[in-house]
């Protein structure tokens, strides 16, 4: 099957900043994204776990966004504007997709 190269951006970010991040992604006109819940983790800011939490501070989310390599930089800039101030990380990788027009 013919495939087309894209970039996959994976962001782990604290829940309270999620809405801001998604607004930024919309502003960067990405064609889509998917949010996956994270359960626990560790980083510079220490260990966390969402088990038992009644509130939203202290939960983390993983956001996956497939985008065109040509649009990577503007998208990363928007993402970075949020993640730089909040608890979170960003990774970028190469992927192939089937329907190029979808992204």
């Amino acid at each position: 099957m013919q495939t087309h190269p894209k970039k996959r951006i994976e962001i782990v970010v604290e829940y309270p900043a999620l809405r801001r991040l998604l607004d930024r992604l919309d502003r960067a006109q990405v064609t889509g994204y998917t949010v996956v819940p994270a359960l626990a983790g560790r980083g510079h800011d220490g260990l966390w776990s969402s088990e038992g939490l009644a509130g939203d501070a202290g939960r983390m989310m993983m956001v996956i966004c497939i985008t065109d390599p040509a649009r990577l930089d503007p998208v990363l800039e928007e993402v970075y504007a949020v993640v730089a101030r909040h608890i979170g990380i960003v990774t970028i990788s190469d992927v192939q997709v089937i329907r190029s027009d979808h992204f």
Binding site: E14, P16, A17, R19, R20, D45, G46, L47, S49, S50, E51, G52, L53, A54, G55, D56, A57, G58, R59, R85, H86, I87
Partner: protein, 326 residues
Amino acid sequence: MSLVDLAAQNLLSPMVLFFALGLAAALARSDLTVPEAVAKTLALYLMLSIGFKGGVEVAANGITLRMIGVMGVGIVLSFALPVIGFLILRAVSGLSTVDAAAVAAHYGSISIVTFIAATEIVRGQNLPFEGYIVAVAAVMETPAILSALLLARSGQPTRNGNEGLGPLLHEVGLNGSVVMLVGSFLIGWATGPKGLQMIAPFIVDPFRGVLCLFLLDMGLVAGRGMREGARHLSAPVLGFGIVMPLISAAFATLAIWPLGLSLGGAALFVTLAASASYIAVPAAMRLALPEAKPAIYLTLSLGVTFPFNLSLGIPLYLALAGLVAE
């Protein structure tokens, strides 16, 4: 009943013991957990129940001048207490401006679970209380956040302006827990005792049992937080977690003296002032002051102040209230 008896009786209540069980399990590294989805729902349930019941009482008794007065005093305290807390922290702890402001915000705002635990103790003493106190709780949630933002900016001129105050106020004011509490209050008010009768087997009868389960969960979260967060708390900060509630309680006691609340109502008001938020304010701080370290304010509020209030604080506040109540 003497203060000591009351404290002893409180320490042996199922509520406090389930909290202690959770705490002990977490400190011993047991894998006991309450799923997040259930913890969130228990919190919603408690707010639905407490809000609704408060509204029903207001429906029965109407709005009074005293009610407006107590709400006003509550708002003022919520604004003022963070300033006091901030000054103390800046004086005795090495916390940065932002961290001190964030911690102080928690102590101006309130903890609904502490409030609920206090209602159970008050009820256990057969003391009636004003139903509108739950509305006072609701209005005391957010002013402290604004207060803390101003304090934080006193340090760093205009650093946090990049998202604007408007969106923040929207996010804080429409925070799920605030909406649930206020909405249920209004519905209780609108439907009155007839509405309560319809749903009492859900929101009244099992209430204390559900509270036990929720406190077990809070114990687990607090214990885990203490294990992780303790190293972020210096001795002065730890001390602040015990002393600040007492200071708040003292101010609250004086502030409502002239208002002539019932003993139960006064005890609950003092408890509100002395309690520290652990749901609404932390979420707001992550948005408004992301530079502040959550390990400090969450651990302090949930791991130090909440256990203190639940075990010893509330009986003490009830005694304090006895000095000024009608």
